[in-house]
């Protein structure tokens, strides 16, 4: 008799384990589109056998656990490559912006303004009216247009920097939110896993980790209790157990463009540790590199152009004589250094005060055009370039004409942008590949779950049938009484 009741127990356990299986399949199906969700599998084992005279006798099925199917290695790679993609993405965008600003494929730009400027000296040299008032005015107009062009390009590039700086300021709270969430999930996971694996919580944490690494490159490792520790690549802890440190932004007094630009620091109690230099990847890394390296390089290229232009024109201009017999005048305000030459480029006050100060000749005679001609010839003249940081003296840069230099600047930015785009495309594919691998391992397949459901349905029905068979047997036994 007791064995009959035992069978009922086996069947009952079978039904309950099976319905748990159905519930797991249902959970999987319900989360088919949930980002970061990993498929879950019911793990069962035969019940511990009891010894009988006939040998060990099975006691039915036992529900062990519900496990999550993930590939730890893919997860790691997703974090690392996600960091790279984040950095790539922001840098690609920054370079795109820079090249759009400097681009003149679609309209007149710097080279066109330079050409017009040299043209105006040619026209001045061709002037037939004594004193050439019209042509002199045109030289000033073309010079001013060139100055404005430099100023506007410089201002636009600086605006890009400000935009990037805002991006940095916005990324930091997002990072803090994620680290706080990871710490909170750590707490819940540790508490849950005293009893059973915290599958869904772990999925959520993995997703948060991936989102975090897209923003900033982090290292992580899991403690024995199931909590993850997250550090920046320099080792500074962001998440330790159930507590998270916050990142804060401070000013950058040493920044040559704007001391108000954000530096990133880890706040540890009352102390701040600057980690700006240690952030190499992720969106934040990309933003920092764009703001502190890519855009400054473009601005300095522009400065080099402006500095060399102003000096070459000034040198020739100083050697000439104005209509007013003045000599030694600058045409552009002499730039102090290559740094910020584009922003500070301006026509010299003497030229602005009177066009007669334009040194068209080597004498003050009204049709002497010799110096205007020399100025016009600067268009094609190659000379060594002064580079940012060059001390006064011999220039260290390559020998180029200003127009060639302008072409090289555009070409160089284009090359950087292209390389960055290719690398971004490649990185996107790498990540797509990894995500496919993750989807392949951890994603939910409706076909699979449906098959499971049918399987489980059949199992449930069979277990129920066992109950009804036992019931019949019992009826038979009771009938004996």
């Amino acid at each position: 008799m007791s064995s009959l009741f035992g069978i009922l127990g086996v069947a009952e356990r079978g039904m309950s384990v099976t319905s748990l299986g159905i519930r797991t399949a249902g959970h999987n199906i319900a989360n088919v589109n949930t980002e970061g969700f990993s498929q879950q599998r019911q793990v069962t084992a035969p019940g511990f056998p009891i010894n009988t005279d006939a040998g060990p006798l099975g006691t039915g099925v036992e529900q062990l656990t519900i496990e999550r199917i993930t590939d730890f290695f893919v997860q790691r790679q997703l974090m690392r490559e996600g960091s790279r993609l984040g950095a790539n993405d922001t840098q690609t965008q920054a370079l795109r912006e820079i090249e759009t600003i400097l681009d003149e494929q679609s309209g007149p730009g710097l080279s066109a303004a330079l050409s017009s400027f040299y043209d105006s000296f040619d026209d001045l040299a061709n002037a037939t009216t004594p004193g050439a008032p019209v042509e002199r005015a045109a030289v000033v107009t073309a010079g001013q247009a060139l100055v404005d062009q430099f100023g506007s390009l410089d201002a636009q590039l600086r605006d890009v920097m400000v935009g990037l700086d805002n991006g940095i300021a916005n990324a930091v709270p997002a990072i803090n939110e994620l680290t706080a969430r990871i710490a909170e999930l750590n707490e819940q996971i540790v508490a849950t896993e005293v009893r059973a694996p915290a599958n869904d919580l772990r999925d959520m944490r993995e997703l948060a980790m991936r989102q975090l690494s897209e923003l900033v490159d982090v290292q992580s490792y899991e403690n024995d209790d199931g909590a993850v520790a997250v550090t920046l690549s320099n080792g500074a802890a962001l998440v330790e157990g159930t507590s998270a440190k916050t990142l804060v932004t401070t000013g950058s007094p040493g920044n040559p463009f704007n001391p108000g630009f954000a530096s990133v620091a880890v706040q540890d109690g009352g102390n701040l540790f600057d980690v700006t230099a240690d952030i190499g990847s992720g969106r934040l890394g990309g933003l920092l590199r764009s703001r502190d390296t890519l855009v400054p390089a473009a601005i300095r290229s522009l400065d080099t152009l402006a500095y060399n232009l102003a000096n070459s024109v000034n040198t020739v201009h100083q050697g000439g004589v104005g209509l007013d017999a003045s000599t030694g005048n600058d045409f552009f305000t002499a730039p102090a250094a290559v740094e910020d030459a584009a922003a500070n480029l301006a026509l010299d006050a003497t030229i602005l005060a009177s066009t007669d100060a334009i040194a068209a000749g080597t004498t003050s005679q009204s049709l002497d055009n010799r110096n205007a001609q020399t100025l016009a010839e600067l268009r094609g003249q190659r000379s060594a370039l002064f580079l940012p940081g060059d001390p006064p003296g011999p220039a260290s840069g390559p020998s180029r004409s200003i127009l060639e230099h302008a072409g090289a600047v555009i070409s160089d930015i284009g090359q950087q942008s292209r390389t960055q785009q290719l690398s971004f495309d490649q990185q996107t594919r790498i990540l797509e590949g990894l995500q496919s691998r993750r989807d392949s391992v951890s994603g939910v397949s409706i076909d699979e779950e449906t098959t499971r459901l049918i399987e489980l349905q059949a199992a449930f029905q069979a277990n129920a049938r066992v109950v009804s068979v036992v019931d019949t047997l019992m009826q038979d036994v009771l009938g004996l009484i």
Binding site: V32, N33, R96, E99, L102, D103, Q105, S106, S111, A112, L114, S115, Y118, D122, D123, N126, T128, T129, P130, G131, G361, T363, Q365, S366, L367, D368, N369, Q373, A376, E377, R379, G380, L403, E404, A406, G407, A408, I410, S411, D412, I413, G414, Q415, S417, R418, Q421, T428, E432, Q435, S436, D439, S440, G443, V444, S445, I446, D447, E448, T450, T451
Partner: protein
Amino acid sequence: MGTRITQSMLYRMSLANLDRTRGQLARTQEQASSGLRINRPSDDPLGAGTALTLRAATDAVEQLLRNGSAARARVAALDDALASTSDLVIRARELAVQGANSPVGDSTAEIAREIESLFGALVANANTRYGGGYIFAGYAAEAAPFTTAGAFSDAPPTAPTVSFVGDSGEIQVGIEEGQTVRVTLDGRRVFQGDADGDGNPDAGRVDLFQVFGDLRNALVAGDETAIGAALPELDTALRQLGTERTAAGGVLSQLDAAEQRLANQEVRLASRLSEVQDADLARVVSDLVRQETALQAGLSAMGRLMPPNLLDFLA
């Protein structure tokens, strides 16, 4: 274990492929609408730099052509002045011949009057203006380069003296890279035969004002010897002007040649620029069709995504 194909995988892959096709299509459409292969430097960094250089070179050529036409106009003005001066000299020579063969008296006096007006025309020619300046004045172009002092008088026969107040500045205009042409002539050399500036005509040259003045005085005085002496002087004057005209003609043919070369260069630059930056429309259009087809295929595949799964077959 074979690869599990899961729902999220299918969606993600289709979406990524659609994105890519759409991206390609957008680029091709940009090329089709702009007609340019290079729409931003990163499309072809080297090409973009080359295009810039070519555009700058084209601009420089255009400016040189403009210089050339400015130079041409000025040299033409010089040539006109020289031609008209030559006409004056030829007329003076005719009058001198006529004067030498006429009996002294009223007719020579009449001829002398005509020489006086020729003298005036000669001074006017020497003070020819172009574009507001005086073309024989050198750099000092704001004032007439030749000033006359005195007037014609008959007893004793005297003529006004002409002196040069310009300078010997030569205005050069760049007509090709590294090549300039002179678009002015030194008035003193042309009209006074004085290239070295010592105040006297150089060997083999004459002072036209002097020759005209002397001829006029000889006619007034009826000095046949002096009238006869004017003839070789006038011949020298014609040669002197002829030499200058030849020089001006030389400049004009130099300009022609330069213009021709520049025009060729402009065509070459334009075709090179087109090669570098223009889209091959035939290719762009075929790409466009191909990519549109690909996009449509992708979209319809996406529409039918959710490939039949087991659920479709369960009652």
